[in-house]
């Protein structure tokens, strides 16, 4: 029995009233976090559980908000009706497993390509854009005051932040310079009300069933800012998984996303702001991909990192299509 399995068994007995755990296995998803699945051994039968924890239990990435905060975000989201996995236990120092938490396993699909192409999700694709709008409207009612530790950033501050990261990389990308000029010249004003923003709400981070959205996952870069950011990010081209004529996650149209958002109580969507956030999304993902080169040469010299770094050019062509076609 591995040490991890041993300690998780202890947690299951001590905190969750189970007899132990079975079937521990590492899932491949999650580049910045470890994700494990196992079953709680309970009198009523096995209950599947997901463990999210920092790599090796301790390493925490620079941008992530911390797994304890992520667990509290899930609990807060559940209270306003956002579909999320129920948090079962937040790891404590005594557990000896580092930072992380246990949550309920939600059955479904997260692989964007399958959600976009598989016949199994044909019905879901007709409702997903609107559902995503409805879910985001509820998500944006979460109270930022509950999370004073989260970064607060205006659109202009976000652009300045990514520009600084890009410039520090020391590698010239004329297309990025063009995009930063455009983003600076066309920035939406500071929002009337700063909201809790998921920050990574996109196809790939949503658990999808044939009926639609079952859970919103990966809250690790949540922050406080302009709620339009979430509506732009899910339309950013890389998250369409090749179905570029269906801008919302490769499954739907912007008009349905916005209609769902407004019908569920979200603020009216200004078209030109939504477009700005889409350009910003390509810029942001481009800078993040480009940053993988430093990560590859530093802490994580994996082939996967190297290959993501080489996806920077996808964003360069997306930016040209948005700004220079």
């Amino acid at each position: 029995m591995s040490e991890l399995e041993d300690k998780l068994g202890e947690v299951a007995r001590r905190h969750l009233g189970a007899r132990g755990i079975t079937g521990l296995k590492r899932l491949t998803a999650g580049a910045t976090q470890e994700v494990w699945r196992f079953e709680l051994d309970e009198a009523a039968g096995p209950t599947p559980i997901i463990l999210r924890r920092a790599p090796g239990g301790t390493r925490v990435s620079e941008t992530a908000i911390g797994l304890e905060t992520e667990a509290r975000l899930l609990e807060s989201a559940a209270r306003v009706g956002v579909p999320v996995p129920a948090v079962r236990h937040v790891l404590e120092p005594d557990d000896g497993l580092g930072h992380g938490f246990l949550m309920a396993f939600v059955e479904g699909e997260t692989l964007g390509g399958r959600i976009v192409k598989s016949e199994e999700f044909a019905q879901a694709r007709t409702v997903l854009a609107r559902q995503c709008g409805e879910v985001l409207a509820r998500l944006h009612t979460m109270d930022p005051a509950e999370f004073p530790n989260l970064k607060r950033q205006t659109p202009a501050e976000l652009v300045a932040q990514y520009k600084a990261i890009y410039q520090a990389s020391g590698w010239p990308r004329p297309v990025f310079d063009l995009a930063f000029r455009w983003l600076e010249a066309n920035s939406p004003p500071e929002p009337a009300e700063m909201r809790l923003v998921h920050g990574d709400f996109r196809n790939g981070n949503l658990m999808i069933g044939p009926d639609g959205v079952r859970a919103v996952l990966d809250w690790e870069i949540a922050h406080v800012g302009d709620p339009m950011e979430d509506l732009g990010w899910i339309c950013t081209n890389p998250w369409r998984f090749g179905a570029i004529d269906r801008p919302v996650g490769g499954f739907g149209q912007r008009e349905d996303l916005w209609a769902g958002y407004e019908a569920a109580g979200g603020a009216p969507v200004k078209r030109e702001h939504a477009h700005w956030w889409e350009v910003y999304g390509s810029m942001r993902w481009g800078v993040m991909c480009a940053g993988m080169t430093a990560a590859f040469r530093g802490a994580d010299p994996s082939v996967e990192r190297a290959v993501i770094a080489r996806r920077t050019s996808e964003n360069e062509i997306d930016l040209l299509r948005l700004l220079a076609s």
């Binding site: 590492r26 010239p172 990025f176 081209n237 062509i317």
Partner: protein
């Protein structure tokens, strides 16, 4: 002169080995990572094959745009600064075409199946 077969050929053979032997012969994370590795090698094979001609053309365009010679990194750095300062923009003659040609050449190496790249190739192809 180094001998044959060329780096591109050997790298291609290793990629094929990973794809046809290792990926189907393993499972889970290892199989996934072997496929990622094969894709990475094929990318490098494309770079070895395509980049010399594309970078020569990029270099020639940069010399024309900036009015002087230099190595590829310093010319790109200068172009980058001029755009950032607003001294050059999409109204600058030749700039949009240069950025498009350079970006399409990068995609041909990095991600030739990317849908936006395929769409751009089709849209920008000379009309028959």
């Amino acid at each position: 002169m180094q001998d044959q077969p060329t780096p591109a050929e050997v790298i291609g053979a290793v990629a094929q080995f990973l794809k046809t032997q290792v990926v189907p012969g393993t499972s889970g994370a290892l199989s996934f990572q072997a496929r990622v590795a094969a894709n990475a090698l094929e990318m490098m094979q494309r770079e070895l094959t395509l980049a010399p001609a594309e970078e020569a053309a990029e270099h020639a365009r940069l010399k024309t745009l900036l009015g002087h010679d230099g190595d590829l990194v310093s010319l790109n750095t200068e172009l980058s600064h001029r755009i950032a300062e607003g001294a050059m923009d999409l109204n600058t003659p030749g700039l949009a075409d240069h950025l498009w040609a350079t970006t399409l050449a990068k995609l041909a190496v990095d991600q030739p199946t990317y849908a936006a790249y395929r769409a751009s190739l089709a849209e920008r192809a000379p009309k028959a």
